[in-house]
Amino acid sequence: MSGGGLSCQDLTFAYRRARTPVIDTLSVNFAAGAVTAVTGPSGSGKSTLLYVLSLLLRPTAGSVIHDGLNLAAARDDVASRWRAREVGFVFQDAMLDPARTVLDNVCEPAVFAGVCRRAAERRAADLLDRFGVAHRADHRPAEISGGQAQRVGLCRALLNSPRLIFGDEPTGNLDSESGDVVWGALTEMARDGATVIVATHDTQRAARCDEWVRL
């Protein structure tokens, strides 16, 4: 299963001042077109795994393979451009820029992917509409609810139609209804061919995902 998916081989990662690695020789295939849940107790390394797979942290050993290429030792600018083009990240806390409007926030990844503003705005309007926050496009993050902010964060992650989507407890702060919206969207992205990897504490959700990795 390598059709555009992401995989890791003997992946090991240790924080610089830590004695034991957080991730120890982990080998997983994250299939394209599937939602993979990553669960484990607090401190087991779920967030760390997502950061390493998205090359924000570099593996101590092992490989991260996307499209048949090992990116583990890619140069920083190569990794950054790869993230801009191929990766969408949904954080637990929406991580919006409080000084900018909802629309500007959703359009932000277009700048780094070299997508023109006009096209980005059109796509952003579609996404905001799809997640029911279009009427908030001109508001600042401080003027919208937490659930709405998380949907805006999801719109931003999807702006460049990434083939890899990482979610770090994307529904951790949400009520079940908003959680359903986010899970629904992630599942839909997977059906469209994306590789979706979600760290979560919600084992019921994890059980319903296509794949389940326990740390």
Binding site: D77, S80, A84, F89, E108
Partner: protein
């Protein structure tokens, strides 16, 4: 690239406080630079002008014992030379006595000399009119000694009465003329020339001009004349120009240095306040160089606004203080230097922002 520029401009507007602070710092740098250095430059020019008025541009041709036989055409010949502002000539000294011979002169005896050519602007007619053929004008000191009423009266020279029709004040290097009576001789007696005063045009090489004058002087015995420059004043001018330029350059460097420090502090503060933004941007695909570029462009945008406003204010202040605006070149170089200061001051925080670990930022809620 235009996407980055657009994003930067939006970010500048979205954070008015840090943008305005940067603009203010750069604006102040321009204002202070122009108001101090520009002012120093203007004062410098004034000092040099006053040194020049002592006579750096004045050339004096003297026939001290009257044996050179300088031809009266000398005024026209020299006046036609390149680089000559004006030239006039004076004849030998005669005693000037009050027309009423019974009246005695108090103080020094007065000197009368014949005048060839037009008196320059440094010799200002303060009363009456200028002399026609056969008439005379008196310096202020001479007029006082002669007891002239309303600048008009008479004087006796070589036993002949001469009408005095005006009074003048001589300033600068010509102030010695204040105690003389200048007579415009009639054509019957061709005037004898003992002194020729020549002023070089501003910026002209005075020493070279003096050599030319020596070479072409219409005289029977040109070697008998002495051609003098105010060498002391010329030397003084060179020393002053050097040291004044030095001091205003140091002042400017100091202002720019302080500006550099302030920009660095401002930008470090602004960048620290925005660490979350940079962490997020790195996570969604910004390269390190994109972060550096954005911080630099944003500070340049704020800085440019400050530079334009600050320079305009600086030019206005200078106009108010010195009554003269600094040159366009000077103003533009101040603007460019201040933008350079912005880049250099913003570079360290920009690089620091790009090298910060995004994960440690993302972890902080």
């Amino acid at each position: 690239m235009s996407g980055i520029l657009r994003e930067c401009w939006a970010a500048v507007r979205a954070r008015p406080v840090s943008s305005v602070t940067t603009a203010l710092v750069i604006g102040l740098v321009c204002l202070v630079t122009l108001a101090t250095t520009g002012r120093a430059a203007a004062i410098e020019q004034r000092v040099l002008d006053s040194v020049d008025s002592i006579g750096t541009a004045l050339i004096t041709v003297t026939d001290s014992n009257g044996s050179a036989g300088i031809h009266p055409s000398v005024v026209e010949v020299i006046g036609d030379l390149d680089g000559v502002d004006w030239a006039f000539a004076l004849g030998p000294a005669d005693d000037a006595l009050p027309p009423d011979l019974t009246a005695s002169l108090d103080g020094e005896p007065l000197t009368a000399r014949s005048l060839l050519g037009e008196l320059p602007g440094e010799v200002l007619l303060t009363a009456g009119r200028s002399a026609r053929t056969g008439e005379a004008v008196a310096g202020r000191g001479a007029a006082r000694s002669l007891g002239l009423v309303d600048a008009v009266g008479g004087v006796s020279v070589r036993g002949q009465p001469v009408a005095v029709v005006g009074t003048f004040t001589a300033t600068g290097p010509l102030d010695a003329l204040d105690s003389t009576v200048l007579i415009r001789d009639d054509d019957s007696a061709p005037p004898i020339v003992r002194y020729v005063y020549v002023r070089a045009e501003v910026g002209y090489d005075v020493a070279a001009l003096a050599e030319v004058i020596q070479a072409i002087l219409p005289a029977e015995a040109p070697s008998a004349v002495t051609v003098e420059l105010a060498q002391g004043a010329i030397d003084l001018r060179e020393v002053l120009a050097g040291s004044l330029g030095e001091s205003s350059r140091q002042l400017m460097l100091m202002v720019l240095g302080i500006g550099l420090l302030l920009v660095a502090i401002t930008m470090t503060g602004a960048v620290n306040a925005r660490r979350r933004d940079f962490g997020r941007q790195r996570a969604i695909g910004a390269t390190r160089s994109a972060i550096v570029a954005m911080v630099l462009i944003q500070s340049l945008m704020s800085g440019a606004i400050g530079a334009v406003v600050g320079s305009a204010a600086g030019v206005a202040v200078m106009w108010g203080i010195a009554g003269a605006a600094p040159s366009l070149t000077f103003t533009l170089s101040v603007v460019l230097l201040s933008l350079l200061v912005t880049i250099v001051g913003a570079a360290p925080p920009a690089i620091a922002a790009s090298r910060r670990d995004p994960v440690s930022i993302l972890r902080v809620p």
